[in-house]
């Protein structure tokens, strides 16, 4: 199945199939898709920049708003920020850690 492309005008939210907790400065993501929170299985973590993006996935801001906020906060090439944000979202979507918020 082909993965849907990440679009800047869409709102992405953390999936219901994960638990994410900030623990000792690290964001730990536990997948629940198998019907169990399994600490013996694979988990995910996000680095600081990833967490900056994650915190902005609040169910209201579309991806463009996330990029704009990051461009205001950081001294960096906006094209690079877009590329990084989209790249991360592709990874998160692929692993079903985030989903696109349904319209309406």
């Amino acid at each position: 199945m082909q993965q849907p492309a990440v679009k800047l005008d869409r709102v992405y939210i953390p999936s219901e199939d994960i638990v994410a907790r900030e623990i000792e400065g690290e964001l730990i993501i536990v997948p629940l898709a198998a019907g169990v929170g399994d600490m013996e299985d694979e988990l995910y973590s996000l680095n600081d920049t990833g967490q900056e993006i994650w915190r902005r996935l609040d169910g209201r801001a579309d991806l463009q708003a996330v990029v704009t906020a990051l461009c205001k906060e950081y001294e960096a090439d906006p094209d690079l920020i877009i590329q990084d944000v989209v790249g991360l979202m592709e990874e998160l979507l692929k692993r079903r850690i985030v989903v696109e918020r349904p319209a309406g």
């Binding site: 638990v19 907790r21 623990i23 000792e24 730990i28 536990v30 629940l32 019907g35 169990v36 929170g37 399994d38 600490m39 013996e40 299985d41 694979e42 988990l43 995910y44 973590s45 996000l46 680095n47 600081d48 920049t49 990833g50 900056e52 993006i53 990051l70 205001k72 906060e73 950081y74 001294e75 960096a76 690079l80 920020i81 990084d84 944000v85 790249g87 991360l88 990874e91 998160l92 692993r95 850690i97």
Partner: protein
């Protein structure tokens, strides 16, 4: 403006290689059980030996509508230091649960409010195999012996007998 951010990185981590504090583990367990799902993790320590040993893998399930019973093994957050503890229910004192480690002979029972209990241990795995002893019908007797401080004495006796038997065979 802050300096340029580093690139965002999503890392795949092996859960078993993750060194989480007991408090962090309790936090994650609470979040998963709140979704009504089981939580599977590797336990550390010997306070529940011989039924649960260091590095055993436990599956904890939500309590649901049934309160913990005497003999069951529960995961709870300590009232002393907020750490995650896995001990056996050995009785009740009013509304509080009396909990004790099977291997803690002579230790005073801890009375904890039921609200501190995160879930009950449903499964114990050791070296990839399910261990049933300590979770079945014998659990009430284990709780009784544990409360009387006899369990650790019996276990020590059994270990001594086993060692003697092994030495005789050798």
């Amino acid at each position: 403006l802050r300096g340029p951010p580093g690139r965002p990185v999503l890392s795949v981590r092996s859960g078993s290689g993750l060194e989480l504090s007991s408090k962090a583990l309790a936090d994650l367990m609470k979040s998963v059980l709140a979704r009504g799902l089981p939580f599977r993790f590797r336990v550390r320590g010997w306070s529940m030996s011989p039924f649960i040993r260091d590095f055993d893998v436990l599956t904890v399930v939500p309590l649901g509508s049934r309160p913990p019973r005497t003999g069951e093994i529960v995961a709870f957050v300590s009232t002393v230091d907020e750490r995650l503890v896995v001990h056996r229910v050995v009785g009740r004192r009013g509304a509080a649960l009396l909990v004790q480690g099977d291997n803690l002979a002579g230790a005073t029972d801890a009375a904890i409010p039921e609200s501190r209990v995160l879930g009950r241990v449903k499964r114990i795995e050791r070296d990839g195999k399910t261990v049933r002893l300590g979770l079945g019908a014998e659990r009430s007797a284990v709780a009784f012996l544990s409360r009387k401080g006899l369990l650790a004495v019996l276990a020590a006796g059994a270990r001594a007998l086993f060692r003697r038997g092994s030495a005789a065979r050798a």
